[in-house]
């Protein structure tokens, strides 16, 4: 019994990478205003209610800052967080190619049923890049 009690809060339902990004998410939008960014993309999943919003600063076709907000389960938060790290510093042409599969692999895998709803950040990113391209 003592052994079980010590383990409370120790086991986690997803991979260690998901756990890390869920508890220590990178690059969340905090103080900055929307107008400080060059492009914004938002996507929602009607199936499971998750909503993701990405904010980009782009210089010479490079993503120099990537901030985000997410309403969703642990895997959705982790997926957006890891995407922000993957895309940071990337050429927008390359960032446009990041797929849900890339994100899932970077997370060390996700339960199958979670993939299509948690991993939406790539779509939000493409939306942001599309809007940026239209603007310039």
């Amino acid at each position: 019994m003592a052994e079980v009690k010590e383990k409370t809060g120790q086991k986690f339902i997803y991979s260690e990478i998901v756990e890390d990004h869920f508890f220590n998410p990178r690059n969340i939008l905090k103080q900055e205003k929307e107008k400080d960014f060059d492009a914004i993309g938002e996507i929602g999943s009607p199936a499971c209610g998750d909503v993701m919003k990405v904010y980009l600063k782009i210089r010479e076709n490079k993503i120099v800052d990537f901030k985000w907000k997410t309403f969703g389960c642990a895997s959705a938060i982790a997926a957006t967080s890891i995407l922000s790290e993957m895309a940071m510093g990337m050429d927008i042409e390359d960032a446009y190619q990041i797929s849900a599969k890339d994100i899932t692999e970077a997370l060390g895998g996700l339960p199958k049923r979670k993939i299509h709803c948690s991993v939406l950040g790539d779509q939000a990113l493409r939306k942001a890049i599309d809007s940026y391209r239209q603007k310039i």
């Binding site: 409370t8 809060g9 209610g49 907000k69 938060i77």
Partner: protein
């Protein structure tokens, strides 16, 4: 220093009470025999089953032969529904939109053979007797409505339902798994024909349940084999479980319920002062151990896992806990899909303390702030 874990998910399952554990222990060891064996050692085991049956019959105010021991709530619900409806080729049956899956899925499965009405709850999570009255048809043969809801703890007016059915041939079943320990369990006063009771919600172990079946109601067994339980449920009796269940109903006390009610009042009062928190289900017609809330801009599974990291165990109706990714059917029925995603269920029990509630509140407040800050819905 790490705090010891805080369990606030009693509606999911309860720990085994030490008194219960003590009562059942001999039946794993010294008295391990099969109650069907007619030598004296077997009779010892049979004696324990008989005595336990007597205790439970007294608890429900029914006859001993009206008690069928099963493997738990799900089996009892299935036995009541499929067992009774085997008597019919067709007809109309009624249940509610907020039933436990053990009832709801059984009705779904019967849709091909029977016409099914799913009664909708009001925004408080209550099923109206007037709606039941309206739904009844001449060929209605069966009605199943839960006593208290497992997600939002709302208490249904069972006596009013059975009063309506007094002059109707339809048989009435109620799932009383969550209600046991808190509400009236006298089947005569309730007027029910079939009632489900589950050990693992009342401080007895998992794997033991009861179906109360009024003598005049006939059902077909769904597990066949030996002639245990008057031929209605085959299989060697779970003697330790049966003894445990009897002990568990013996030690039910209104003092515990009162204590839980006080803690519930306190917790709800505190929660309602937090911006963006809203209670799901009736404040008044509610089990004393259930608190179900939605937190604006905070997804339930995320919140659950964050609380878990800090040693607190609760439950959610968010999509992510379900296979089809749809959030709680119960909360959707009384509120919006978004509220269902944002829902959190906190259920108290016999061993919950004020100190635990205070720690929960502190951790909860910090945790929701973290998620609201990263949510595009925000709190702004």
């Amino acid at each position: 220093m790490k705090q010891s874990p805080i369990y606030l998910d009693y509606a999911s399952t309860t720990p085994i009470d030490e008194k219960v554990l003590k009562a059942m222990a001999p039946y794993f060891g010294d008295v391990f025999y099969n109650p069907s064996s007619i030598y004296s050692l077997g009779l010892l085991a049979k004696d324990a089953v008989d005595k336990s049956r007597k205790v439970i019959a007294k608890f429900l105010n029914c006859q001993e032969e009206e008690i069928i021991f099963t493997s738990g709530g799900t089996e009892s619900d299935n036995l009541a529904i499929f067992g009774y409806l085997e008597n019919f080729e067709s007809g109309h049956i009624v249940t509610s939109e907020i039933e436990h899956p053990a009832v709801y899925e059984a009705f779904k499965k019967l849709e091909g053979k029977f016409k099914v009405t799913y009664l909708q709850p009001d925004s408080n999570g209550l099923i109206s007797p007037a709606d039941l009255k309206k739904a009844l048809k001449q060929n209605t043969v069966f009605v199943s409505i839960m006593y208290a809801n497992n997600e939002i703890g709302t208490i249904q007016p069972i006596k009013e339902f059975t009063k309506i059915l007094k002059n109707h041939k339809a048989v009435f079943h109620t799932d009383a798994c969550q209600a046991t320990g808190y509400l009236e369990m006298d089947v005569k006063k309730l007027g029910v024909d079939l009632l489900t009771l589950n050990g693992s919600k009342i401080y007895a172990p998992k794997g033991i349940g009861v179906l109360y079946k009024k003598k005049e109601v006939s059902i077909a067994p769904q597990i066949v084999g030996g002639d245990q339980e008057l031929g209605l449920r085959a299989g060697t009796e779970n003697v330790p479980g049966i003894v445990a269940l009897a002990r568990a109903v013996e030690i039910i006390s209104s003092k515990n319920a009162k204590k839980e009610k006080q803690l519930q009042d306190y917790l709800i009062r505190e929660l309602m002062q937090i911006k963006g928190v809203k209670l799901n289900g009736s404040r008044v017609r509610r089990l004393p151990n259930n608190i179900n809330i939605s937190v604006q801009g905070v997804e339930g599974e995320s919140l659950l896992l964050d609380l878990d990291k800090q040693g607190i165990a609760v439950s959610t109706g968010s999509a992510c806990s379900s296979r089809d990714l749809k959030p709680s059917r119960v909360i959707r029925a009384i509120s919006t899909e978004k509220n269902a995603h944002e829902s959190l269920r906190v259920t108290l029990g016999r061993f919950t303390t004020k100190k635990e509630i205070d720690i929960f509140l502190k951790v909860f407040k910090n945790s929701i702030k973290r998620f609201q800050e990263m949510s595009p819905y925000g709190r702004s």
